[in-house]
């Protein structure tokens, strides 16, 4: 009975008492409201408007516009570009992360800075740089066109531009994870006589698979959605070098709103899918992702 009375008193007290390291309830509610309100206006509203505009004249119209030849060729081209640039970037990311984390060499910080560089270069500048290197009036470009392999205004240029803008994605995801895991396991495998490939496939890869998948997801989303760099190098040839984002711009500028937003909705769905998968990875495999992702 005494015990109960004590609990009751304690219960009454906790209603009044609040931890010193916490804001008061009204302040907390205000801050949450500000955060949610801001996010609703800035992020949720644009997302919602994509679907609203796509379905403005019914789902039938939206689907019909996706069946138009320019839409289907854009979707096909975007898939091809991603199918080439994402694996290339994954291989590069693994190679760079392996080199940087398993060995000590001079100039490592400089190498990491170079890998990070595409993050801070404008996509348009990236496209321009590729045009200047591979365009018809450059030395390499002239030779490539003469030998029947044009880069600019063709698929290779779009792939190169996509690789440029996603360049650090996989490496940046793997490097912190591999630093944290250290070299002991690989060194143990080495002393047991395993070959380099065997060490990588049976020791390293299982340790980094989720981080690798995470990087590949982000890389894929960006590669499929890249606009600025691709706009510069593709030449925007309808049905040939117009990726999905480029086709969205063309349709939008022709006031074909439903068609533009329908294609945009497909990319938005891809973005949502990427977010969902990424979130699942963060919940399930937080311990195997880069430390900054753990929250």
């Amino acid at each position: 009975m005494f015990d109960n009375a004590l609990h009751a008193a304690g219960g009454e007290k906790t209603a009044q008492w609040r931890p010193v390291a916490e804001e008061s309830r009204p302040v907390r509610i205000l801050l949450i409201a500000l955060a949610l309100g801001g996010l609703a206006v800035l992020v949720v509203a644009p997302l919602a408007v994509v679907f609203a505009e796509a379905l403005a004249r019914g789902a039938g119209q939206a689907l019909a516009s996706l069946a138009r030849p320019e839409a289907t060729s854009a979707i096909r081209l975007t898939l091809i570009v991603a199918a080439i640039s994402v694996p290339v970037n994954a291989v590069f990311g693994i190679a760079a992360a392996w080199t940087i984390t398993k060995f000590d060499f001079r100039g490592k910080a400089f190498l990491i800075t170079l890998i990070d560089l595409p993050f801070s270069v404008s996509p348009v500048v990236a496209g321009l740089a590729l045009v200047l290197l591979f365009g018809t009036n450059s030395l390499i470009g002239g030779w490539l066109v003469a030998s029947g392999l044009p880069v600019i205004f063709a698929l290779p240029g779009i792939v190169l531009a996509s690789i440029f803008v996603t360049f650090p994605f996989v490496a940046r995801e793997l490097i912190p994870v591999m630093i944290e895991q250290g070299r002991a396991e690989e060194e143990a495998a080495l002393t047991l006589g395993a070959s380099g490939w065997r060490i990588f496939l049976t020791v390293t890869l299982p340790n980094i698979k989720w981080a690798l998948l995470y990087g590949v997801l982000l890389c894929n989303a960006r590669a499929m959605g890249e606009f600025g760099a691709v706009a510069v190098v593709s030449g925007k040839i309808r049905g040939q070098t117009a990726t999905m984002p480029i086709t969205i711009e063309m349709l939008y500028n022709e006031y074909l709103s439903v068609a533009a937003f329908s294609l945009a909705a497909v990319l938005a769905l891809l973005g949502l899918l990427t977010l969902a998968l990424k979130t699942v990875l963060e919940w399930r495999h937080a311990d195997q992702l880069a430390a900054t992702r753990r929250h």
Binding site: K102, F105, G107, L111, S120, G196, L218, G271, L275, W283
Partner: protein
């Protein structure tokens, strides 16, 4: 370069292959194209490059891009920190969904964001019509550009600050409170200094992204020379006129701005590592 990346002795295999792939890709994708851009500037001549940049229209575009990017990064610094605090400290229904939504600007292609924001803020759009009734205009003005830049840079500050907040031991706040500090005082004198380095890095990343942003801006900007014309658009215009030298000149100016910001980010990281031992 081979000398710079020389290996210290290691029994681990795969250095040659790994470094080979890394350097080959780095050369093809980054070093050669950027080198070609710089080489074009050199062959065009420093005076000619300067003459191209030193025109009212280019200055207006560079100033516009940098000024609005700075303002957007500032908004993101404040709102992003608030968002990080709410997500890391408070529990409310749907918190995890909101947490995932913060990254949407990273996952949504810029062209999609561009036409969506334009549809929202155009005079006949959901938000635009409200502003129009109040006698204002957002799309096709600098306000529209600012909103697009806030959108693309939104996740940076939240994602750099949030893990730092999660790591703060609440004991330091309790200690501060027992020593007589009010909650506001504790936040300002104890929490804020801990968050500052991460927040500054997020700010710099957001700024770097916004200065070069193109896709989400061109739809909403209206693209009027001297008024709502961003620097990357000028490059595209020069390229469409086949003025490769002019495009290269503006491209080099923007590249130098990027380098400066990359340097700033690295300096902040070094400074914060010295100050509190981690980033």
């Amino acid at each position: 370069m081979a000398l710079a990346f020389r290996l210290q002795k290691s029994p681990m295999p795969g250095f040659g292959l790994g470094m080979g792939i890394t350097l080959a890709m780095l050369s093809l994708i980054v070093i050669l194209p950027v080198g070609a851009l710089l080489a074009r500037g050199i062959s065009y001549g420093p005076e000619a490059v300067w003459a191209t940049i030193n025109t009212p229209r280019v200055w207006a575009a560079l100033y516009l891009s940098f000024r609005l990017a700075f303002l957007a990064a500032l908004v993101n610094l404040v709102f992003g920190t608030l968002l990080a605090w709410v997500l890391a400290r408070y529990d409310f229904p749907g918190r995890r969904l909101v947490d995932a939504l913060v990254d949407l600007p990273f996952a949504l292609p810029t062209a999609v964001a561009g036409i969506a924001l334009t549809a929202l803020y155009a005079p006949n759009g959901v938000f635009g019509s409200i502003v129009r009734d109040l006698g204002g205009k957002i799309a096709y003005t600098q306000w529209g550009i600012l909103i697009a830049l806030i959108f693309v840079g939104l996740p940076f500050v939240t994602r750099t600050v949030q893990p730092v907040i999660a790591e703060i031991e609440q004991e330091v706040e309790e200690a501060s409170a027992t020593l007589g500090a009010g909650r506001f005082h504790t936040l300002r004198r104890v929490i804020l200094p801990l968050l500052l380095p991460a927040a500054l890095i997020g700010f710099a990343l957001s700024l770097a992204r916004a200065v070069g942003e193109y896709g989400s801006v061109i739809f909403i900007a209206g693209n009027l020379p001297m008024k709502t014309e961003i620097a990357p658009l000028l490059i595209v215009i020069k390229l469409e006129e086949f003025d490769y030298d002019g495009a290269a000149a503006i491209g080099i100016a923007m590249l130098l701005i990027s380098f400066a910001m990359l340097l700033a980010i690295n300096l902040i990281q070094i400074w914060s590592r010295r100050r509190i031992g981690h980033v």
